[in-house]
Amino acid sequence: MADEKVLLARVGKENSRAIAGYREDGGYEALKTVLTGGWTPEKLIDEVKRSGLRGRGGAGFPTGVKWGFVPKDTKGKPIYLLCNADESEPGTFKDRLLMEEDPHQVIEGIILSAYALKCRTAYIYIRGEFYLGARVLDEALAEARREGLLGENILGSGYSLDLWVHRGAGAYICGEETGLIESLEGKRGQPRIKPPFPAVSGVFAAPTIVNNVETLACVVHIVKRGAEWFSKIGRNEKNTGPKLYCLSGPVNRPGVYEAPMGLQMKDLIFGEAYGQGMKNGRPVKVVIPGGASAAMLTPAEIEDCPLDFDGLAAKKSMLGSAAIIVMNEDTCIVNVAQNLAKFFAHESCGQCTPCREGTPWLHKVLSRIEAGEGRLEDIDLLERISNQMGNGMTICVFSDAAIAPVLSSIAKFRDEYRYHVTEKRCLVGPRAGAAALVPA
């Protein structure tokens, strides 16, 4: 069971994109079961609730519960389902694989979920850089329409759904669900103040559910094999189902790996079936477990570290988008924090003062320390700036994400920051070597 691939079962197969192959492998059977087997939308929502499925986009919110937030009476308004295919969190590359290699699995998941939500129009919001993913999905959608799986009266069931690919144009913040909604409406992708929550008033002022690509793909298998089956995969009843992990950094075999939710971090990095250890045997120095927005973990912290929502929350970090970025002992921590700060300074949408002003400040101060021009007070300054940016002072949690790498790296590697300031160079890495040539 542990080794069975569910979400990636068809990836790598010849012609994995074509509808014929998908159907040969049992594709669209789940849709048939639901639409022609007398399933009500309520039954499907209940099944998803019982599976324990939690959102794979970052926050880990229980999917069935979220679906239940759509008001019973929508006052005549349509309900929209948006598939979040913006995948822009540094270190994350699982949705790209699902869409490029097995588009029909994603589409079937969307149709099923749309049915559960009584939604008649759905969009896949895909980041602009995924030209190939968008093309593959467009072709797959055309196939599905030809075979009566989309459009009017699907499989003769009376249920109709339109589903379109909508391409973004380069902006990380459009992955945040209300930024995505604004962007889909043809505006700058600036997150909205909540409430109202999208389930009540989202895109086009109508009830809207936003779900990640992987979340929606899971729905196919919940229908096919049952909520019980799904809920028994994974570490415990709160962390269920098959999960995709994105492993990058200087490991022997980076890539997307599927495992039951709660795989041990050390198995992912060192396991034969996964990363196969560190390149050149260089020891691990630090790991970011959930994309750029997650707090860093030290080698001691990755001992007994189940990669799931609660396992990482217990370590005061997060599973996020399951982007596990591993760094070895040749990595300068200040340099890493500076690189992450550059990302956030570039991607802030600019609406909230603490975030708009704070992100470039953090980058500036980190750059100063990295360049050997820092002062010891700068380390406290970084913490002070960060504390003014967090704690719900902003419209969205981007600002909290931006400070996570700064605060966690200072808390865990303060000595290295101090060394950088007093010695005016890196403790380790290429820049340490170059500077060390200067006679003391």
């Binding site: 590359f93 850089e129 043809g186 990058s248």
Partner: protein, 174 residues
């Protein structure tokens, strides 16, 4: 890429969509309950038509979608992928986010600068190459990851980059 994003350049020529583009725009409009929602897709059609989006093209889009030019400018300057001035035939986009950074992306950029004789956001004199830095493009397991126009090339080192530039420089028709 934030540096070049504050104004939309003029082409000096009126922008009129060819008939096939107008047909695509009609199809796009049918997908949404508002005209405004078709804005990003229609801007993509404009960029595919002219290679970049001029002030004139933006105004034509504004007219078609019944939006103000100011709204279009706001959108164009928010997103990084719309070219607000002409770019080279091959837009080389090098990711410098964390996983690519760890794999030496900055070195790769330095290599490209020297090899092409241009800086970031610049185009070679023959109009063949433009070099830009981008944030994570979801190719982190094959770092450093780059895109040339709409296609991934990953992973790339100095040698592969040289071969790529060589091949693109000598492509037929150039």
């Amino acid at each position: 890429m934030s540096h070049r994003r504050y104004s939309v350049a003029e082409s000096g020529q009126p922008a009129v969509f060819p008939p096939e583009a107008l047909k695509r725009i009609d199809e796009l409009l049918a997908r949404y309950p508002t005209k405004q929602a078709a804005l990003l897709p229609v801007l993509w059609v404009a960029q595919e038509t002219w290679g970049w989006i001029s002030k004139e093209a933006a105004e034509e889009v504004a007219r078609l979608l019944e939006l103000t030019p100011a709204h279009i400018d706001g959108v164009l300057t928010f997103y990084t992928m719309y070219n607000l001035s002409p770019v080279g035939r091959h837009l080389i986009q090098v990711c410098t986010s964390i996983s690519c950074h760890l794999a030496g992306a900055e070195g790769l950029i330095d290599h490209c600068r020297k090899r092409l004789g241009i800086g970031l956001e610049e185009t070679t004199a023959d109009g063949k190459f433009t070099l830009v830095e981008v944030e994570c493009i979801a190719g982190c397991d094959k770092a450093p990851s780059i895109m040339v126009n709409d296609t991934y090339v990953e992973p790339v080192d100095g040698k592969k980059m040289d071969e790529l530039i060589e091949r693109l420089s000598s492509e037929a028709g150039e």
